[in-house]
Symmetry: C2
């Protein structure tokens, strides 16, 4: 096994399995056949053809679109068709930085193959000799990736909160971090991927942050999502990613980005160019 295997896992999907999900003439997601068929039951909200699924053009404001889609999703939820309902509104964007076209319940986002955003925190301790990364073990009862290894703090990016503010919130909930400490985290880029998971088609952008922590910091989970925390020498983290799938699939990407940025992987490595390329999707629109 290799780092490239971890990356390949984050890029498995079949374009032919989907029809574009179109809002206002712009493709913002990918809907599989079964869902397209089901959405045809709601012709006041969705126009379904053999080529595409579109939001009806009459729905032309943020509020109208959000309400109409929420109504359909609520009915599907009642029919047991949307597992793992989160009660969290995600923004659906034409382009990062623009006003959202609508919000959509988080659990439905991968069903529609819509792009989602998240934050991941590399929390590490450095001394003269080496660098150690805080590793969390996810609770065994989590809905996704139970028992997998994770970052000190990470989470989805809901509607209505800034990226850095969201990171600080996640640091508090997941690792009991003081907001002042989490605010010292530095934004260091992003990784992107598109792949089929149990929950649907994940089309994600993860904003990455680095935070050098004092040696006396001890994380403390406050929301029951983490079973335990350990401080691992970074080479052990990398070996575990290379040789196993113990880390949650997308955490591996963020950690490989960390390894690249901090010189733990070197340009003379034959896989170097392919690893960096694999952390970034092509810049085309969806």
């Amino acid at each position: 096994m290799s780092y490239l295997d971890r990356i390949a896992e984050c890029h498995r999907w079949e374009p032919d399995d989907y029809r574009p999900f179109i809002i206002d003439d712009m493709a913002v997601g990918r809907v599989p056949r079964d869902l397209a068929t089901r959405l045809a039951d709601f012709p006041n909200v969705f126009q379904v053809s053999g080529r595409a699924v579109s939001l009806v053009p009459d729905l032309n404001s943020f509020d109208e679109r959000s309400a109409a889609v929420a109504d359909v999703l609520g009915r599907m939820r009642a029919a047991g068709e949307i597992p793992r309902w989160r009660d969290e509104a995600y923004p659906i964007l034409r382009r990062w930085g623009e006003a959202p076209l609508l919000t959509m319940e988080r659990a439905a986002v991968p069903l529609f193959g819509v792009r989602a955003y998240g934050v991941h925190l590399n929390g590490f301790v450095r001394d003269a000799e080496d660098l150690r990364l805080w590793v969390a073990r996810r609770a065994k009862d989590k809905a996704t990736a139970p028992g997998k290894l994770d970052h000190l703090a990470a989470g989805g990016q809901p509607h209505g909160i800034g990226v850095k503010a969201n990171l600080i919130k996640e640091g508090q909930e997941e690792a009991g971090m003081d907001p002042d400490l989490a605010a010292r985290a530095i934004s260091v880029g992003l990784v992107t991927y598109r792949c089929v998971r149990e929950e649907g088609l994940r089309d994600d952008v993860l904003f990455c942050f680095d935070l050098e922590l004092p040696a006396n910091f001890t994380p403390r989970n406050t929301d029951g999502e983490v079973e335990s925390f350990e401080l691992w020498p970074f080479p052990r983290v990398l070996e575990t990613i290379r040789d196993s799938d113990d880390f949650k699939f997308n955490v591996s990407l963020v950690i490989l980005d960390f390894a690249i940025r901090h010189g733990f992987l070197q340009p003379d490595d034959p896989d170097y160019e392919e690893i960096v390329a694999g952390l970034h999707l092509p810049p085309e629109p969806v």
Copy 2:
């Protein structure tokens, strides 16, 4: 003007203007129409069709390929068809990390639209308050980008030297750096781009390095390629990139990558996702 304008300049090319350059059934470059026509004059080395330019399959070793191509390029040079001859052998690779298929004179690489590699060094000084970047002004008599602003040290990646060793050599030649000092540089990733320049189609991968320098370090150019060095507050560097094309086109990309990695650009910036995407070409093969 904006950062995205700088990035767009590094991605201007027209796929239809080229035919694939094929070695051993693998596309490794892009040849424009005029060159394809000219290469048809050398049927012992190149097979030219309306669809592709191929190296003749009989040339099936590194030495044979290199010698045959060098012979053709030498004739073209004698006919004045290859300006700015460098006498530097670049490796032509199927994939980074594999043994080169042949070497090719550096000046011919963009004529064949073949991927080239290089190293760029972000040399900076940090104190409690801010970060300053060493900026070089290129000599006015340089063949490419005379008078433009540049990195402390940067250069192409020739055949037969490791990436880090090359960086140390460039640091010595371009900035008079002690090899021990340059060896402290940390590899931090790469940027990629493909664009038409005066010299042809540049399809480049630049390995990026960061080096935090002591406040008492003063660069000293030893090869006549640099007119002067200045230490600029990083915000001034970024503003100059945003508002002008004073920096050499590809240096802007490496500095934007630096700005992303060090938190000078933030995820809440509406252009953030597009800037990061613009630093990396799609991971497909050539």
